[in-house]
Amino acid sequence: MVHALMLALQEEHTSGPLTVEGGLMLWTVFIFILLLLVLKRFAWPAILGAVEAREQALEQQLAEAERSRTEAAALLAEHKRLVADAKGQAHGIIVDARQLAEKERAAAMEKTKQEQQEFLARARREIDVERDRAIADLRREAVDLSLAAASKLIGERVGTDTDRKLVMDYLATLDGGR
């Protein structure tokens, strides 16, 4: 096998693998440049342009999505704030109402108590007056009755002012012991 390879290598060739051929080199350069020009004119701009356009569109969409996201987040925050505000306000209103009701109730209670007191006081006063009048009436009646009884007893009419005064004085001494 080595022998075969050696033979192959020894064989005379005008163009071996390591010979550099000017003609082929010129052709290579020419074909490469031609291919480069053709592709540069007709292929690469279209392919890379399409990719770039798509890239831009994607980036734009991403930016838009980002913007909508932040907008939505801001809206959500605003919404949350509003809800919290409303809740706070409602709470305040309820507390206020409760306080007001409490106050009203207390005031009403106070007023009722006062009225009751007044009523009681007036009643007591009236009772006192009535009682005094009743006592006075009773006293007068008692004087009259005692005088009538006395006159009956002594057969004479006793009714002079002096008599009356006498009885009254006596009753006055009784008054203290009542």
């Binding site: 096998m1 060739h13 693998p17 080199m25 290579t28 031609l34 007709f42």
Partner: protein, 317 residues
């Protein structure tokens, strides 16, 4: 030999069906080579070398027209077409056709506001991948103007590499002349980029290089001259070594696979044995699968390194 040969044509055909590849070619050629050398030998040189004829499988050998060489000064330039030139032209035509049609399809899809689908979509994805992952990161900022050149380079090399795996095809990139021409173009692109981005003074700095931060005074001046004298040849060699490495790497990679496959198939004829033939065929199939990968890899490497060199030159020193 006839029964043996027929068996091998069948095996070769089966392999050819399984793999778009060379055993069939080797088989085709074997009798001729054997007859020529009077032994059991395959003319590897003839297979990987250039020639003025094309073998079309099952049809025959086609002689290409020859022109008289042109004499430019002392140089003799033979512009007549060769096997490699024909396959290079075919590669260029296929690349042009594929991408011009893909571009049309992509532009049409774009006009409808949709990404391209199918083959055009695949081409677009490949193009985009090379641009985004290979070219732009290595060249650095503002690398867009190099994209057409490097994309063309990649697909042209890839098409030429793949043609070597088609039955009856030849690898133009397995010819040092072709890879040297591509490397010379790369060298010119790299150096011209250097001249344009660095300015005349900056560009000359990449050849006549002296390190910064040398001490002043007469001692420093002497040191400067010495370093300049030492470093300038190194810089020049470095500049030339890059395209040389590009050319040799591509050429050697594309050639070695073919030599290996031919040598493996050749073992069969050397030993005249079915067992060896079976083993060699299995091995050759594996090597051809590897070659398919190498075809892509080497196109990628050539493109990647060219863009790395352009990037290095743009931010040189």
């Amino acid at each position: 030999m006839t029964r043996f040969g027929r068996m091998w044509v069948m095996t070769g055909l089966l392999l050819g069906l399984a793999m778009p590849a060379g055993p069939a070619r080797a088989q085709e050629h074997a009798p001729a080579a054997a007859a020529q050398a009077g032994g059991h030998e395959i003319d590897i040189q003839h297979h990987i070398g250039d020639s003025h004829e094309i073998e079309i499988p099952f049809v025959g050998i086609y002689e290409l027209p020859r022109f008289a060489p042109i004499h430019v000064g002392g140089l003799v330039i033979d512009l007549s077409p060769t096997k490699h030139l024909v396959f290079m032209l075919l590669s260029a035509l296929i690349v042009a056709l594929v991408f011009v049609l893909s571009a049309r399809s992509i532009a049409g899809a774009q006009a409808r506001g949709r990404p391209a689908t199918g083959f055009a979509g695949a081409m677009e994805a490949t193009t985009l991948w090379i641009r985004q992952e290979v070219i732009l990161p290595t060249i650095g900022p503002h690398g867009d103007k190099f994209v057409p050149y490097l994309l063309t380079l990649f697909f042209f090399i890839l098409a030429m590499n793949l043609f070597g795996l088609v039955p009856g095809g030849a690898t133009a990139t397995g010819n040092i002349t072709v890879t040297a021409a591509l490397a010379i173009i790369a060298f010119l692109v790299i150096e011209v980029t250097g001249m344009r981005t660095l300015g005349p003074k900056g560009y000359l700095g990449t050849i006549f290089y002296r390190p910064h931060g040398l001490p002043g005074g007469p001692g420093g001046a002497v040191l400067k001259v010495v370093l300049l004298a030492v470093l300038t040849p190194i810089e020049l060699i470095g500049k030339l070594a890059k395209p040389f490495a590009l050319a040799v790497r591509l050429f050697a990679n594309m050639t070695s696979g073919h030599v290996l496959v031919l040598a493996l198939i050749g073992l069969t004829f050397l030993f005249q044995s079915y067992t060896v033939g079976l083993g060699a065929s299995v091995l050759a199939t594996g090597v051809l699968l590897l070659e398919l990968f190498v075809a892509f890899l080497q196109a990628y490497v050539f493109t990647l390194l060219t863009s790395v060199f352009i990037g290095l030159m743009r931010e040189a020193h």
